[in-house]
Symmetry: C2
Subunit: 207 residues, 2 copies
Amino acid sequence: MASVTDIPDIVIGRLPLYLRALNQLVQQGQTITSSHELGHQLGISSAQIRKDLSHFGEFGKQGTGYQISHLQTQLKQILQVNREWPMIVVGAGDLGRALAHYGGFVERGFRVVGVFDNDVQKIGTGSGDLKVRDIRELIDFLHHNNVRIAMLAVPGNVAQQVCDTLVNAGVRAILNYAPITLIVPENVHVQYIDPVMHLQRMTYYLD
Amino acid sequence: MASVTDIPDIVIGRLPLYLRALNQLVQQGQTITSSHELGHQLGISSAQIRKDLSHFGEFGKQGTGYQISHLQTQLKQILQVNREWPMIVVGAGDLGRALAHYGGFVERGFRVVGVFDNDVQKIGTGSGDLKVRDIRELIDFLHHNNVRIAMLAVPGNVAQQVCDTLVNAGVRAILNYAPITLIVPENVHVQYIDPVMHLQRMTYYLD
């Protein structure tokens, strides 16, 4: 198996897509699939899929396809989601609360363990782990709970400042919903979700 | 200027990123920028940016950089967001309601004009344009309001069925938040937002 640094990031980026497609096939009752079937479902060539997976070893036998459960297990291990990652949400507006309550995290390797805001109207609302905490408790909380992942659902004009605080407190992966590009050290990973960018990409093609 | 079909989709996909970066610079008070500055901010090479923009004409003079307002106007025109697109949200759960109330759409070319659900507990809640409507009114509403864009925030197991209804009623661009791959005709565009896929892409790199 190749070491981490050998694998192009674009290949890593496709693995979650494969894992999701496999989950979908399992829900449909399948136990075996092929690179052709996966490729058809995802709009990716079967050759690309085989090449991507070959970075990590041998997953299928020529002519018999992939055993889905085995491939799922392997992909989860490679992506390190064969465990549960605690994460926090910063920003308890509509979006932050939707993220805090999203049911799709736990079954795929993640759990929201804390929600933070600086608005006294919001602090203390909600219940259990998802009771909104004071942003001033953030650093202590991250240290005590060994949290490395944060979702950022704050306004754009404070996102960089909150990001800096998170990074200083040990966060190494940030899913940023604020519509700005964050500046982070090299050892911190940022992914962006901005619905408008996806919409603008589609309007180009509309008559 | 090249015709639509000449431009690779991957180039189109970067234009919203450029537009967003320009908005960010304007908010910081700048009026001029360069491909180097944009590239540095976005982690894209300046040569790539110049090449992407060259598909659409001449935007900067050698050595003087880009006039931000001019480039913004041109990019908005190319992406067809120099107008306001009406769109609907299907699914009035936490995420659907967060999308319906998201303040970032209007200033960037989009407006939510309707929210739909099939749950009688949700229908009629909310107010104004964002009062949740009965999914059975969907087809009539789309025709009367000439809506071509929908955001899909329904559970995965009904997403394909809702998608088919949308497509039959004339929707040509779908932003899908359900964690499944949709099957659509060639003339329909789908973009996917799945936070777990972004998170899984980052956990690969965590120690």
